[in-house]
Symmetry: C2
Subunit: 325 residues, 2 copies
Amino acid sequence: MLKTPITELLNIEHPIVQGGMQWVGRAELASAVSNAGGLGLLTALTQPTPEDLYKEINRCREMTDKPFGINLTILPTIKPVPYDEYAQAAISAGIKVIETAGRNPEKFMPMFKSSDITIIHKCTSVRHAIKAEQVGVDAISIDGFECAGHPGEDDIPGLILIPAARKAVNIPMLASGGFGTGSGLAAAIALGADGINMGTRFLATKEAPVHQNVKDRLVEASEMDTALIFRTLNNTARIYNNSVAKKVVDIESLPGETDFSDLADHVAGVKGREVLEKGDLEHGVWTAGMIAGLIDDIPDCKTLLVRIIAEAEEIITRQLASVVA
Amino acid sequence: MLKTPITELLNIEHPIVQGGMQWVGRAELASAVSNAGGLGLLTALTQPTPEDLYKEINRCREMTDKPFGINLTILPTIKPVPYDEYAQAAISAGIKVIETAGRNPEKFMPMFKSSDITIIHKCTSVRHAIKAEQVGVDAISIDGFECAGHPGEDDIPGLILIPAARKAVNIPMLASGGFGTGSGLAAAIALGADGINMGTRFLATKEAPVHQNVKDRLVEASEMDTALIFRTLNNTARIYNNSVAKKVVDIESLPGETDFSDLADHVAGVKGREVLEKGDLEHGVWTAGMIAGLIDDIPDCKTLLVRIIAEAEEIITRQLASVVA
């Protein structure tokens, strides 16, 4: 058992929080993570309407009596998204933990605070971590260059970003991006974090509601099998480096303004959803983090968390302790 | 005191090795690191001829009776470099530890082995680490994306690269790139390394033979103040992000073949040397790693190493141990 300010704050057994993955963060996975002693998260925008989110929260509650939360990612979109209504639906359904990401959560703080919500803000830089602490979030999830999805534009890996953030903020902090093992958890705590956030590692679990081909590919993949796209749009994303990713990278390397019109569906993520559901891995872009290189199996969430905690404890109490002469 | 396979292999007090920095790895710094209980390295090619390296080794030996080594970096050059003669000069002068970098050291192995040299090979990928172990080096120094100088073209940070390399090779391993603190040392060991290599952190010490302006700038710098150049040449280098670096990045972003002819001196490193010696920080490109963001002072090497070891011990025996319930 590892007890940290994060296990206390979130009232969970293990200091491990599930990442808010689009099309993946459904009741099946969130309940499995929470039942395993971590904190599962439903991804709010995976549900087509706030009402659907309300129903999904109730469905998840039937699958676990442990705490779980929602992820609310606020990104630039072509069609306006009713973020307030998603947040209100979650609160009405009794959610007590919300992970915000993509934008400073300041405008949501009064609503959250008046409903006793614990707010974890995920961000990719020290300056955003400082700002989030200032507006009153309860914990930071600091997300490094290694991560799947949006690492920001600064390219600072966890080895530097975690201790830099630790020096700058005082609230509990999760380390995110590149985590999926007990050695990573021990390293994160050594660097000043109070726990870890895992996305890609949970994608390769029995309970993740995605096609088996996706899970199998994560087992096969090395740390070299991701790519960064959309840097030309200042909206960088780390994805699995398939043939579609290579096409996007090629387009971005051309001089002049970037024209993705031939790949519009991929940019909008429609085909990414189809990859996850149908398992044709070359059909569109889909996110995967560098931790893919350290994923060797597809356990259930309980087995995974028991193993990570046991490995971290072994490293702390034996491997590290034994070098101190 | 931290005892690891690296302190045993190199017969040193602390598991900390100095990086082989061009124009910086002279007797003043190497002897100071060794006197502080780490392993100092003379940078072979900082000396204009093999005979000068022989003399520098003797000069260093007058400044310390502790073990020290040399760094031999084998990179593509316009003018041929007599690497064999540098290596032979070092061996003749009684050097017992050589850090190789830049290229597989296979062709030097018979010479090194017949002279009982301990070989540390620095590399930036798991495949190169495996190859180095196969050709018989004694230790790996695995160098992540965070590093100053040449991170390779794969962009894998230490958080992923260290455990991936640990799974692949069995010999002692140093973690390099992004290190300079006790928390980093503890994290490196948690991730499977047996010690750390530090370059930029030693640049900001009293004994580093570089202009005070360079050291002061490293104290001021944040983790955001480095840039990658020469990616278009497949010879990526991480440097301090000054006005010259910005010019190089601009040239590289232009379509067509990259033409650095207006910046030829900078590419060749001549002005980089002048920056280090004269302290005009905008005069040319000079290397700095992301650890600059975690450098807050300019201690002597002894003070630095005592502090890093004490911090690592504190983290291992108290911070980490206290989370195990």
